[in-house]
Amino acid sequence: MATETTLEITLEVARYRPGVDTEPTLQSYQVPLREHWAILDGLTYVKDHLDGTLSFRWSCRMGICGSCGMTVNGEPQLSCATFLTDYAPGPIRVEPLRNFPVVRDLVVDIDDFMTKLPKVTPWLVREVQSPVEDGEYLQTPEELDEYQQYSMCINCMLCYSACPVYSLEPDFLGPAAIALAQRYNLDSRDEGADERRDVLSSPEGIWACTFVGECSAVCPKGVDPAGAIQRYKLTAATESIKELLMPRSRSRR
């Protein structure tokens, strides 16, 4: 009988214990190289069989919740949607997302985004709420098309991790927050564009972006935050020119 050999691959995982370590160190683990295993499965294997102290975040395991973002061989990735076999024979370096403070091992603190997000009023704003009896706010497929792409964002923070402007200027509102503002600005049911304008057009808003484009390159959901930002730059510039020429009319978008 032939001896069964399991192929293995090495994960070099960044470990950081708060209060103990001054900076992360890499620790190597051998995990089975299975065809359908994502990086996240490898990490789960480590936690279950090799080292229960390893900390990382995940939930859905299917690219929906946005909680498993990590830096894999230097690139921001969803660890549940990045497969071990694509990196064979390895080793694979797994580090926390860049540009965020590391709480422990692969867990980062995204509070900064959580405080910025509500600033762009990411919900439908109506000047007058019509009563429920009046029914839904209707929308045509074309109107849906205008913003649907931006509504796909899962707040995974890969775009922030890839953005050098965010790392140099931590006050920058950032790609996802601006894309989400556009998600509502471009929604035919929304009337909040004016409300969002001051935040978006501030120096920490769109104008901080120098169009590196990496946010769009790494986005796992095809949101194209870089495109959203450039589009809003054009909108904001047009608006200010209009305002200069016709000071009293503040149009909707």
């Binding site: 708060p18 074309e142 169009f211």
Partner: protein, 126 residues
């Protein structure tokens, strides 16, 4: 709570190809500015008459001025190409309810550039 903040390296921009391109494009604005200065110097020399114009032409013929201008042109081209590449991201143009494809928006920019250059060339050379 003690957290770890990754320090920013001086050479952080060598980490990814896109970062290198980005830094080069930022740098290109220096050369765009240089071309503006060069053009102003030229206009100034022309307005001072034939002798001064000749002096300017001689000066710009020196190897190091030519070298600067060649480098500047490469950077300005980089600036233009990346700028045009960006255009479709910023412009969501609709024609009869359909969004104009990105390649057509880019093509329109190059066409406009060509036409403008031809007009300038015609003005100068006629």
């Amino acid at each position: 709570m003690s957290v770890y903040q990754r320090p920013i390296h001086l050479l952080w921009w060598l980490e990814r190809r896109a970062y290198v391109l980005f830094v080069l494009r930022e740098l290109s604005s220096v050369f765009v500015a240089w071309f503006v200065v060069f053009l102003l110097l030229l206009v100034n020399a022309i307005s001072d008459g034939a002798a001064s114009y000749q002096r300017f032409v001689d000066w710009s013929g020196q190897w190091w001025v030519v070298a600067i201008n060649v480098i500047a042109m490469v950077f300005v081209l980089l600036h233009v190409v990346t700028w045009f590449g960006l255009a479709p991201r910023a412009m969501a143009i609709k024609v009869r309810g359909r969004r104009v494809p990105a390649r057509q928006v880019v093509a329109a920019h190059y066409l406009a550039w060509l036409v403008l250059s031809a007009v300038v060339a015609w003005l100068v050379l006629r």
